[in-house]
Structure formats: structure tokens, C-alpha cells
């Protein structure tokens, strides 16, 4: 039944001669070539010529995303509201916050102890473990169909955010800022397949590189490859960021996750450990961007001592 009109449609097009499918096909070729040349332009390393366009679209689209997320928030908060009628919500939040706090303290304990043994003064530890944070909300998430794990947050250049800053939430490391517009910033999550994080096993101080797998949810694991291939991480060891000079792109000492499996491959002669991240990447909402102390921002900055600046 569906075929008959289709055939007549095609016949009509055939009879239509040159002005039927022809221009459409030329147009198709032109559009495909345009898309391919966009890809070619964007694949140039360093400053791609597409970046200004990306930024312009981001400037225009960021507020739209922020507004949409704000409009939807009351509805996504409905389950919370229902629970709060039993006065459970407040308790739950308090306990969750306390739990996260304790967990991140615990995760850092080995690391901190080792640091204190290795470095004498407290100054260095205070400097790298106390950070100022700009709070922000996640307003958009890239779909899995795009095969990259990025989110948009509602704080941008006007809040003091720049590319290559660390993004955390109260459970641990979230990712790093890729690019900013005036009001929004794009964050690359550490579970993205292209993400590489310098990491340190808290207990043994072994350093390694963490690679994302590109999956969220229960599959959202990270692979840790230690630089020293004789070192064997133990299961249940906690992993924190290693950090680099100047604190970019990742500041040191942020909890990332816990070792769940250890594989040793004879062929690669290296140890590979699977890390279960502390952060639930499927349900990201409130995050903090680590900024240098004294950053000027259009919103309240959480200072290292917990006060609002």
C-alpha cells in the first residue's frame, strides 16, 4: 500500500526531467562537501578556524541552555520535594554532605600522611589542598550519540573561569574546563575517552595516567596505567590527582576514585587497574570550579577556609 504512491512519485520525478532530482543531487553533493570541509578545517591542530564560530554559537546558545535548565529544574526537583514533606530531605542532604566530606577525607588520608612525611612544611600542603571554588550548575549534557562526554556549566568568563581549570564536586574530581564563553563553560568529564588525568595512588604514592572509557553510569570506569610497571596497586586503594606545576589542568590531591580490579598483562608488561570514580556522572548538578585565590568573579567564591568571598 505504501509502495504504490512512492512509485508514482518517482515516475513523476522522472518525467519532471532535469529540474526534478538533479538540482537536489547537486545540492546534496555541495552540502556533503561543505560538511567535509568543515571537518577538515576543524581538524587542524591548535587554533582551529572554527573556534570563533564555536564561541559565537556558544555565546548565543549558552543563555538558552541556562534558561531551559532553570525552567526544568522545578520539575526535576519534584521527587526531592515529595520526600521533604516527611522532613527527611534535610536530614538526607546533611548526611550526604557529611558522608561525602568523610569519604573525601578518608580518600586523602594516606596521601596526606605521605605528603607530610615527604615534605616538611605545612605551607605546601595548605597551598595545594585549600582551593577557592566558583560554584556552578550543570545546564546541559552532551548526548551519548556524540560519543564524547562533555557538559555545559552556567558560569563563564564573567565569573572568572578560564580554560584548563579543574572542576570538582563534593564527591571528587569531575573534569576540566575546555573552553569558555561569557556566561557558560564547556567541561570535559574525566570519563571521556579522550581524557587523561595524572593520578597518584594515595597509599603507595605511585603515579600513573588515568584514561576514561567514554561511558557513563555503572560502566563509567577509568583505567589507570602506572608509570612504574613493577608497582602493583591494591584493590580498594584510593586514587587522587597528581597535579602539575602551576595547578593546571588538574590541581593535586583531589579524590578521583577507588581501585576495583587489577589486571596484569604479560604482553604489555604493565599493570592496569580499573578505577570506580566517586562522582556519579549520570547525575551531575552542582559543581565547583577551582580558581586561583583572589579571582574576581560576579558570583560568590567559596574560599579555601569555607567562607564566602
Amino acid at each position: 500500500m505504501a509502495r504504490i504512491p512512492r512509485r508514482t512519485g518517482r515516475e513523476r520525478r522522472w518525467r519532471g526531467g532535469t529540474d526534478g532530482p538533479r538540482p537536489s543531487r547537486a545540492l546534496l553533493v555541495a552540502l556533503v562537501l561543505a560538511a567535509l570541509s568543515l571537518m577538515a578545517l576543524d581538524s587542524q591542530g591548535g587554533g582551529s578556524p572554527i573556534d570563533p564560530a564555536r564561541r559565537a554559537v556558544g555565546e548565543a546558545f549558552g543563555p538558552v541552555e541556562t534558561a531551559t535548565a532553570a525552567a526544568v529544574r522545578p520539575f526535576t526537583a519534584v521527587p526531592h520535594f515529595v520526600r521533604s514533606r516527611d522532613h527527611l530531605q534535610q536530614d538526607l542532604l546533611t548526611l550526604q554532605a557529611e558522608n561525602s566530606q568523610l569519604r573525601s577525607d578518608l580518600a586523602r588520608q594516606d596521601y596526606d600522611k605521605n605528603r607530610l612525611e615527604e615534605y616538611d612544611g605545612l605551607t605546601a600542603a595548605a597551598k595545594s589542598l585549600g582551593y577557592s571554588l566558583v560554584p556552578a550548575r550543570v545546564v546541559a549534557m552532551g548526548p551519548s550519540q556524540s560519543f564524547s562526554r562533555t557538559v555545559t556549566i552556567d558560569a563563564g568568563a564573567s565569573s572568572g573561569i578560564q580554560p584548563d581549570l579543574t572542576v570538582v564536586n563534593n564527591d571528587g574530581l569531575v573534569g576540566r574546563v575546555l573552553r569558555v564563553t561569557r556566561t557558560t563553560a564547556t567541561v570535559l568529564l574525566i570519563v571521556d575517552a579522550d581524557s587523561v588525568v595524572g593520578a597518584r595512588v594515595g597509599r603507595s604514592m605511585d603515579v600513573g595516567l588515568l584514561h576514561g572509557r567514554g561511558a557513563l553510569g555503572s560502566d563509567g570506569r577509568l583505567d589507570l596505567e602506572l608509570v612504574d610497571d613493577t608497582a602493583v596497586p591494591a584493590e580498594q586503594d584510593d586514587v587522587v590527582t597528581w597535579g602539575s606545576q602551576g595547578g593546571g589542568p588538574y590541581v593535586s590531591g583531589v579524590p578521583i576514585g577507588r581501585v576495583t580490579h587489577v589486571y596484569s598483562s604479560v604482553r604489555e608488561s604493565a599493570q592496569r587497574a580499573v578505577i570506580d570514580p566517586f562522582v556519579d556522572f549520570g547525575a551531575l548538578d552542582l559543581v565547583g570550579v577551582v580558581v586561583p585565590a583572589g579571582t574576581s568573579s560576579d558570583r560568590a567564591v567559596i574560599e579555601a577556609d569555607g567562607s564566602l568571598g
Binding site: 560538511a35 556558544g58 545546564v139 548526548p143 555545559t152 564547556t186 549520570g282
Partner: protein, 170 residues
Amino acid sequence: MNVLRAAAAALAVCVAVALQVSVFPHLAWDGIVPDLCLLVVVGAALTRGPHFAAVLGFAAGVVLDLAPPADHLAGRWALALVLVGYVAGRVRQDGRPNASTVVATVAASSFVGTSVFALSGIFVGDTSLGIGEVFEVIAVSLLWDVLLTPLVLPPVMALFRRLEPDRSLA
């Protein structure tokens, strides 16, 4: 009329992108959301034919490629949606397409669109994912798109039909 039509199409695409990145992640299954842009392009293709749909697909794809939080190579969604618009437009009939044709077209378009996007990523070395996961994403997004077809396609097709007084121009 032309300006009005372009404005309406642009508005539909913007609404689709905003919903896709800001609303549906709350309902997403493993981060996979319905591809609303693709549905808009298919709706345009079924009412206006391949010519218009390919152009709209290119525009929608560029927006998807550039709007935050996109981080893939620009042009990949544009390529995928141009092909979707063209292929779906060839299905267009002279009469109104019936429901099963629409659903079949959406399913085929979703498969083509997501696959072309994934393949382009593999060819240019932009994706480093296993085939298994790629197939999972293709299957789930196909399911999502078909599920949302009854909600999205009728208003989109009505919009484009209303903006098209003369069929022979398409």
C-alpha cells in the same frame, strides 16, 4: 514567506537542540537521549522533500556541532543530517504519509544518522570507542526516536505543511 519559513525552521531546530541538551539528560538512558534535531529534519523531509530537508539538516547539524557542550570535530553532525534529510526526503509521497511510513522513515533515518556520525568519527580518528558500544548507542537512540515520533513528528509536519502553500515549489 521564504523568510518566515526559514525563521520557523530555525526556531524548531533551536528548540530541539535546547531540549536535547538541557531537558532530556534528566531522562536519558546511559546518557543516550532522543535525537530531536533528527526528528525535525525527518519531519521537514516528509513534508517538503529532500531539497529543503538537506539544507535544514546541514544547518541543524552545524548548530549541533557548535553549540556547547559539543566537543567533536565540527561538520560531523552536519554530514549525518544532510544525508538523513536527503534519504528521508526520497521517501516523501505526494499524499500525506501514513503513520507506519513515518515510523519506518524515522527508524531508518535514526539508524543512518547515528551510524554516519559514528563512522565519520572512526574515519577521522575522532572517536576511540569499541564497536559494541557504538551499536548499543545506535540501537537505544533508534528506540528513543521511534518512541518520541508520535509526540514530535505531527506538530513538526503540521508546521512545515502550513508554511508550504505550493507543493510544486518543493
